[in-house]
């Protein structure tokens, strides 16, 4: 009902405002004989903006305050003893009153004060709603009249509407910044709490990761050295890159330089399917298929490869990021001016010589940018490593052995059974922050490289 009225209100104002704007501007154009600066529809939209913004502001404010006001109102009708006591009982009786007021009814005896309160609330809600609607209507009407008065043939309604559109677009792109702020803020306080338990130096330079389960309760216990996790992350990322770069790059080269357009149009989306597969599926694939395969392969050639190891996780992660590298590189390689390619072919170079010596070097900065994006993606990947790397946060250099990464430790520490108020789980936030900074540095680097690359052609 209320939503219906409000929707009707909004639609009515929208229609009236728009109509006013467009017809008035048209009429003015007719009488004054001057050409309108903006088309009537812009005048209409401008007025609609002036009308709807105050309207929505009032309604929005009410939506935020509504329940708080009603609850406060109910407490006036409740016995003082109950209000003074507060807590559960109060909340429960407020809920009962609200249930009565909405006509939903409650189970059991209805007390007198509850009944009166409910009736009062019913009346109050109606009045409050009417007041809000009246206020919204008045403001909207004021906005409408103000905007209407401004209409002249010269009035730049289009510029105003476009200004509003631009503002909206800007607001959208600021979401990314807000998200970043949000992330930093939500990580920082908790990370600081962690550092009140553990010396940052021990964290950043420690070589042992063993956030032991403290049997004695909160606090203390364990070592929180970042280095093994960092190394694990780097190791897996390197393996992933070693898997993905040759395959991805060669695929990109093939698709952009050798393949017929038809082949390309089929193969490219097929490879891109790899990017859309949920990481958990990769995790499984690693755990039940790739890992055992690598282990038995290792047996066959006499190398001890563990089923879950840096190698397993790295290879599967590499498969996942192949399309990142192949698709991006494909685009970048195709951006290399054909003049460059023709120059080399014209000198008598073979296709592969041209690719290796001219095209790839020319596209290199862009490819590096693509790889860096893939790297950050690999660094941030969790699920594959959780399932495939074997969770062994020990500083080891053999890729056939299990390892662990920062992201895995974040998940483990955050979702395990350890004390959430203790360093065992707070460390996750410090790890998150570290990772954030790590990828930030990578991305600034990527941006720098991409910038330089762009300058090269023009």
């Amino acid at each position: 009902m209320n939503t219906l009225i409000i929707t009707a209100l909004i639609l009515a104002f929208l229609g009236i405002a728009y109509q006013t704007g467009s017809s008035r501007s048209r009429a003015l154009a007719g009488t004054s004989g001057r050409r309108l600066h903006s088309r009537p529809s812009y005048h209409g939209s401008a007025i609609a903006i002036w009308t709807l913004v105050p309207l929505l502001l009032v309604l929005g404010a009410w939506a935020l305050l509504d329940s708080y006001v009603i609850r406060t109102f109910i407490t006036w009708y409740l016995p003082e003893s109950l209000v003074a006591e507060g807590g559960n009982a109060l909340r429960a009786s407020i809920a009962r009153v609200e249930a009565l007021a909405t006509g939903y009814g409650v189970v059991g005896e209805v007390q007198e004060f509850e009944r009166t309160a409910a009736q009062a609330v019913g009346r109050f809600q109606t009045t409050a709603f009417l007041i809000v609607v009246a206020a919204a209507t008045t403001l909207a009407a004021l906005g409408l009249f103000y905007a209407r008065k401004r209409i002249t043939p010269q009035f730049r309604a289009r510029n105003e509407v476009e200004g509003a559109v631009r503002l909206l677009l800007l607001a959208c792109s600021v979401v990314a910044i807000l998200t970043t702020f949000g992330i930093v803020a939500s990580l920082l306080t908790e990370a600081m709490r962690f550092f009140s338990f553990v010396n940052p130096l021990d964290f950043f330079f420690g070589t042992v990761w063993n956030p032991r389960f403290s049997t004695t309760g909160a606090g203390g216990g364990g070592e929180y050295g970042l280095i093994p996790l960092l190394w694990g992350t780097i190791q897996i990322t390197i393996i992933a890159i070693l898997t993905a770069v040759p395959i991805g790059l060669m695929a990109a080269v093939y698709l952009s330089q050798y393949a017929k357009p038809r082949v390309r149009s089929v193969v490219k989306p097929l490879i891109e399917v790899l990017a859309g597969i949920p990481t958990i599926v990769y995790g499984f694939f690693a755990l039940v298929t790739v890992g055992p395969f690598l282990a038995s392969f290792g047996d066959a050639i006499g190398v001890d490869i563990r089923a879950t190891s840096a190698l397993t996780a790295g290879i599967v992660m590499g498969v996942m990021i192949i399309p990142f590298i192949s698709s991006l590189s494909d685009d970048i390689i195709r951006q290399v001016p054909t003049a460059m390619r023709d120059g080399s072919l014209g000198l008598g170079a073979t296709k592969s010589e041209t690719i290796r010596r001219v095209i790839l070097p020319a596209a290199l900065p862009g490819i590096v940018g693509a790889i860096l994006l893939a790297v950050s993606r690999a660094i941030g990947e969790t699920m594959i490593v959780v399932l495939a790397a074997g969770n062994s946060p020990v500083l080891r250099f053999n890729p056939f052995e299990p390892t662990s990464t920062i992201t895995v430790s974040i998940v483990n520490q955050l979702t395990g059974d350890s004390d959430f108020a203790g360093p065992q789980s707070l460390v996750a936030f410090a790890l998150g922050l570290t990772l954030f900074v790590l990828t930030l540095v990578l991305n600034v680097g990527a941006l720098y490289i991409v910038r330089r690359f762009r300058e090269q052609y023009d």
Partner: protein, 459 residues
């Protein structure tokens, strides 16, 4: 000029004569062409490898998951024995009765119905089929999925007139019986290592032989919600709907916001520090591990904005933030591909920048934007980690009817099932869930490709 000429000819001549040069070029050719073929071969290998991974992945998942789409079902004539089901009339709402009071009365009746011995109803019905079976009630219960008693109960509460009647039901066999009959568990193992007792196994075999147990398409996989107590009846409906809601939210929020930011950055933003910061921020967000978005979601949407726990709404919002960078980056690159001549044509005619963007640039970028949206939504659809922190990695036994209801999601369901101890049974189910997820993803892609070709044709 002549001077320069003679010296240069001489210097060129010192190294090689034309003929000699030609010979040298000829000599190097063999090796160069071999390298060329090798390089070409490497390219093909790379493509084949990449496609091979796609193929293996699909083969692997299909091969594991397909059996789960078949399930053993027992056809039973159930007699609603009034002796066992001792229940009064189903209450009706009296005039003037408050809705709350009516609900209380109805609930009391339903609770009584719940407490009736439905297992016994089932047991007698089974014994009617195999009168010679001498085993205990336990054995019979062991081969019927424990949720099935609710199936007949619900049939009864919906239609109390069934009392004293007989009706045929196709009941799900239990997970263990299904394993046994399908042979996913080694039939030669000794009793101690079997999940079913010898009697129960014999009963299952007997029923199969009589044709009372048949393998049927496991449609409940799509209509039921998850279940812990009755594994065989566990389905994906709840998770599927949860994922669907989140997808809708991502489409409704992330796509417009992402496209709007991309448009702003590419078409309007002055090149200044702020734009640089936004650009780096966006690229960086693309790399932030997804679980961090979960932390953010918990802090912002749940603790600050007080949105409900486990709700697809919150999940959708978190995934929106997570996929925004992907959509922005992809959209920007397709905006960049719009030829400048088109922009100039519009501006030259006196279109404003906004008009240029909305009338000319965006319409021809639709296919690219569509691709961007698909990539983003696909990423959101497959994400698990951030849902962990906003209560969505939960066991939810309801199909959500709105984005504010508690729900699970497909990848979460996969995660929960893969950890289920009834491994023989859930191994296939997990893969089946993956197949459903991949199916959703591929149909999304197919729709995109279809739309894209339509849009491109329209041009």
């Amino acid at each position: 000029m002549a001077n320069l000429d003679s010296t240069t000819t001489a210097s060129a001549g010192t190294a090689v004569t034309a003929e000699e040069r030609r010979q040298r070029v000829k000599k190097s050719l063999g090796a160069r062409h071999r390298k060329e073929r090798l390089f070409h071969g490497l390219g093909i290998t790379a493509v084949v490898l990449a496609l091979g991974f796609v193929g293996i992945l699909f083969y692997d998942v299909l091969q594991r998951g397909l059996p789960a789409f078949q399930q053993a079902q027992v056809t039973v004539d159930v007699y609603f024995d009034p002796e066992i089901i001792e229940l009064g009339e189903r209450p009706v709402q009296a005039a003037g009765q408050s809705p709350a009071d009516y609900r209380a009365a109805l609930n009391a009746w339903l609770r009584d119905a719940a407490l009736a011995n439905w297992n016994l109803v089932l047991e007698t019905s089974i014994r009617n089929i195999v009168p010679e079976f001498q085993g205990s009630a336990r054995e019979i219960a062991a081969i019927i999925d424990s949720s099935q008693r609710f199936v007949i109960r619900d049939a009864f509460t919906n239609d109390p007139s069934l009392l004293g009647q007989t009706r045929e039901f196709a009941l799900l066999a239990s997970a263990n019986a299904d394993n046994w009959l399908k042979g996913t568990i080694d039939r030669s193992l000794p009793d101690a290592r079997q999940q079913l007792s010898a009697d129960a196994r014999a009963l299952a075999d007997d029923l199969l032989e009589r044709g009372e147990i048949r393998f049927a398409f496991a449609s409940h996989l799509f209509t039921n919600v998850d279940s812990r107590s009755a594994p065989a009846s566990a389905g994906l409906a709840g998770a599927f709907m949860g994922s669907l809601y989140m997808m809708l939210i991502v489409i409704v929020l992330a796509v417009p916001i992402g496209v709007a930011s991309a448009v702003y950055l590419e078409e309007f933003a002055p090149k200044n520090r702020l734009t640089d910061v936004i650009e780096i921020t966006i690229n960086n967000l693309a790399a932030v591990p997804s679980i961090v978005f979960g932390l953010l979601g918990a802090a912002v949407f749940i603790n600050y904005f007080r949105l409900p726990l486990s709700a697809p709404l919150v999940g959708g919002l978190v995934l929106t933030l997570m996929t925004l960078p992907t959509i922005i980056i992809a959209t920007r690159s397709s905006l960049r591909a719009v030829p400048p001549s088109l922009r100039q044509a519009a501006l030259g005619l006196g279109a404003s920048r906004t008009q240029m963007v909305f009338h000319h640039v965006l319409p021809i970028t639709y296919p690219g934007i569509l691709t961007a949206a698909i990539i983003g939504v696909a990423q959101a659809l497959g994400e698990t980690a951030p849902l962990l922190l906003i209560g969505m990695n939960a066991f939810v036994a309801n199909i959500p009817s709105s984005p504010m209801d508690q729900a699970s999601a497909l990848p979460v369901q996969i995660y929960l099932w893969q950890g289920n101890e009834n491994r023989n049974f859930f191994e296939a189910r997990t893969s089946a869930a993956i197949i459903v997820l991949l199916g959703l993803m591929l149909s999304l892609n197919a729709i995109a490709i279809f739309l894209r070709s339509r849009l491109e044709k329209r041009k």
